[in-house]
């Protein structure tokens, strides 16, 4: 979930319990304030009534609310009590329901006679008043919170803008692109710090990359030249007459070893180049068409081994990858399926939009299938196979997150690759 949505969400989650607490508190506070007002008027009325009675005056209804009198009874001295407030529900015949009342009962003495006076006030209006007040305040709070959230979102978008700019620059960063990444000054200290740190990191990475590239280039030079010299010496030496078969065999053994070393060196170089991201450029490769081309280029060999090629490849299916790596990948796959095939065997090629399958008959694997893609393991009875071709294949697949799987059904070896590019959007 993105930053701004999460913050908004958290704000809402915190606001809700606060709302509830405030609503409840408001209810109690307002209720008690209103009830206190009712009680106050009951007491004033009571005092007026009692004063009038004590002075034997007529109870003047102009300033006394007589309707609030519920009962006036004579009581014994024993029943004399202090002022008492209570809530009472009274059944109203007209409304056919119970209605809430506030009652004050009090006692007083006139000429040694004790009387109890009970007074009541209806709370119906008060309750609706409370409800209205709470609703209004609640709605105000809601509006306040919503406008706060909206303003807050806008503010956040504008405050975090530099952060998103930095993110975008990081996303677009390509390691072999020598251009420095430029960060502009922001008004926020932390973002400036972030930009400064990221900038340093990028410089360091670019430097390391450049140094690594140089290192690889230097190694290539160093290793290949001595190999050239050995090879050259052998070639000149072998022109001499008077070499016995034994001499020739020994010499060729050296040359074959140079051949192996050369291949290993070439492979290691490719490995490092891939790992150092030196094959960054990609293009759309019609892999069906490319494989058909490779088959054609190798047709002499295929014919020699009397292999039947069953071509179920579909063209116009594209995979996005580096052109050179594509050639290396598919050439090695195809040549592998020819080299480790049996005479008179079959190669079946199948492709779909995002998928390639190569099945071939072949000699049994001498090793655990899981080790097929491991480096430097001999694959089958074909001697001298250093087995680097498939490891290169695996490394290229790993680079692009292609899913490559090997399986075996009886005598048939199957390699399939899912290119996993269908769901990609720009």
């Amino acid at each position: 979930m993105n930053l701004i949505n999460k913050t908004t969400r958290l704000h809402l989650i915190i606001a809700i319990p606060i709302f509830i607490v405030i609503a409840v508190a408001m209810y109690y506070i307002i209720s008690s304030v209103i009830i206190a007002k009712v009680d106050e008027s009951l007491i004033t009325n009571k005092e007026n009534i009692i004063d009038n009675i004590l002075e034997r005056r007529f109870i003047d209804s102009s300033y006394i609310d007589l309707s609030s009198i519920y009962s006036l009874e004579e009581i014994t001295e024993r029943e004399f009590g202090k002022d008492k407030f209570s809530n009472i529900n009274v059944y109203d015949n007209l409304e056919t329901e119970y209605e809430p009342y506030r009652q004050l009962s009090t006692s007083f003495t006139v000429n040694n006679n004790h009387y109890e006076l009970k007074m009541r006030r209806s709370l119906v209006e008060s309750e609706s008043l409370i409800a209205s007040i709470i609703l209004i305040v609640f709605i105000l709070f809601l509006l306040l919170t919503l406008s706060y959230l909206i303003i807050n979102r806008r503010l956040m978008v504008s405050i975090w803008a530099p952060f998103y700019v930095t993110l975008k620059k990081l996303n677009r960063f390509k390691i072999d692109n020598n251009r420095p990444v430029v960060f502009e000054d922001t008004k926020i200290t932390e973002f400036n710090q972030l930009n400064r740190t990221v900038d340093e990191m990028i410089r360091r990475i670019q430097n390391d990359y450049k140094r690594n590239k140089k290192f690889i280039d230097n190694i290539a030079h160093e290793l290949h030249t001595p190999l050239s010299i050995i090879r050259g010496n052998i070639e000149v030496f072998v022109q001499g007459k008077n070499l016995s078969n034994e001499d020739l065999a020994l010499i060729q053994s050296i040359e074959n070893t140079v051949e192996r070393l050369t291949r290993i060196n070439r492979t290691l170089l490719l490995f490092s180049k891939i790992e150092n991201n030196q094959f960054i450029e990609t293009s759309k490769i019609d892999f069906g068409r490319l494989i058909k081309k490779i088959i054609k280029e190798n047709e002499d060999y295929i014919e020699f081994e009397k292999i039947e090629v069953q071509d179920y490849l579909k063209t116009d299916n594209f995979v996005e990858m580096n052109k050179d790596l594509a050639e290396i990948l598919f050439i090695n796959l195809i040549q592998n399926s020819i080299k480790h095939n049996t005479e008179g065997g079959i190669i079946k090629l199948k492709s779909e939009e995002d998928y390639l399958e190569i099945a071939n008959t072949g000699t049994r694997l001498g090793i655990n299938p899981d080790q097929l893609f491991e480096k430097f393991v001999k694959k089958s009875k074909s001697s001298e196979s250093v087995g680097l071709g498939l490891t290169i294949v695996k490394q290229i697949c790993d680079l692009y997150d292609f899913n490559i799987k090997y399986s075996i059904k009886g005598h048939i070896h199957i390699i399939n690759i899912h290119f996993n590019q269908l769901e990609q959007t720009d």
């Binding site: 280039d217 290539a220 030079h221 290793l223 290949h224 030249t225 190999l227 050239s228 010299i229 050995i230 090879r231 050259g232 010496n233 052998i234 070639e235 000149v236 072998v238 022109q239 078969n245 020739l248 065999a249 010499i251 060729q252 040359e255 074959n256 140079v258 051949e259 192996r260 050369t262 291949r263 070439r266 492979t267 170089l269 490719l270 002499d300 060999y301 020699f304 081994e305 050179d324 050639e327 290396i328 050439i331 090695n332 040549q335 592998n336 080299k339 074909s382 001298e384 196979s385 250093v386 087995g387 680097l388 071709g389 498939l390 290169i392």
Partner: protein
């Protein structure tokens, strides 16, 4: 034909010269940029073979100098890095070919000869060896003036032999032809043997002398002596 070899590794340079001299080339050598630059200025060469990584300068610069002199010399780049960028840059500057270390000397020889042929053809572009005549433009082979069918790869191999005639050719160098730069595991020798056998049969069937001789363990020689 006069060649200039520019290579800073002494041993390698001397090996190249030794091999090429047996091909009747006249060879000069420079072990560094300065010397090469001087020689290019002073003399005319038919072909210059340049290692682009030199201790005191860039081989690419030498190529530029050769071109500036309006020289007609063929230029072959030697490099230890199989770098596409270098290849393209070199071709752009005007080099004619690019060969990666470690190479077989027979390979270098074949390329020099092909290059010189391309540059010095007057009339038809053919190679004649006794009863064999090869037309390089039409890629056809005539034995006793009769056209003989050879498959494309067979033609390539036979041409390679003829360009390196009377020299022992290592079977590994023939392998490189077939399997190319982009393979990382070893190839099959059986196939190569079969190809050479086919070529030999075609030659013999058409009354050609038996030039293709197998050298035990090592490879072949196209022996015209």
């Amino acid at each position: 034909m006069k060649l200039l070899i520019v290579e800073d590794e002494l041993e390698l340079a001397n090996l190249i010269i030794k091999y090429l001299q047996t091909e009747k080339f006249i060879c000069d050598v420079s072990y560094n940029y300065r010397d090469a630059s001087e020689k290019i200025y002073l003399y005319d060469y038919d072909c210059v073979i340049v290692d682009i990584t030199l201790p005191d300068g860039s081989g690419m610069e030498l190529i530029r100098e050769i071109k500036e002199k309006k020289s007609d010399a063929g230029i072959i780049i030697i490099s230890a890095k199989n770098s596409i960028d270098d290849k393209i840059a070199g071709l752009d500057l005007g080099s004619d070919d690019y060969i990666t270390k470690p190479f077989h000397l027979s390979e270098l020889n074949a390329r020099i000869k092909s290059l010189l042929r391309r540059k010095h053809t007057q009339g038809s572009n053919t190679i004649e060896v006794n009863e064999l005549k090869i037309n390089l433009d039409s890629r056809s082979i005539f034995i006793h003036n009769e056209l003989v069918e050879f498959r494309p790869k067979e033609y390539d191999i036979l041409l390679y032999f003829i360009l390196n005639k009377d020299k022992v050719i290592n079977k590994n160098s023939i392998m490189e032809y077939f399997w190319g730069d982009n393979t990382y595991s070893s190839g099959s020798y059986d196939f190569i043997y079969a190809q050479v056998k086919n070529i030999r049969k075609k030659l013999l069937d058409n009354n050609c002398k038996d030039y293709l001789i197998t050298i035990y363990g090592v490879g072949y020689i196209f022996d015209t002596k």
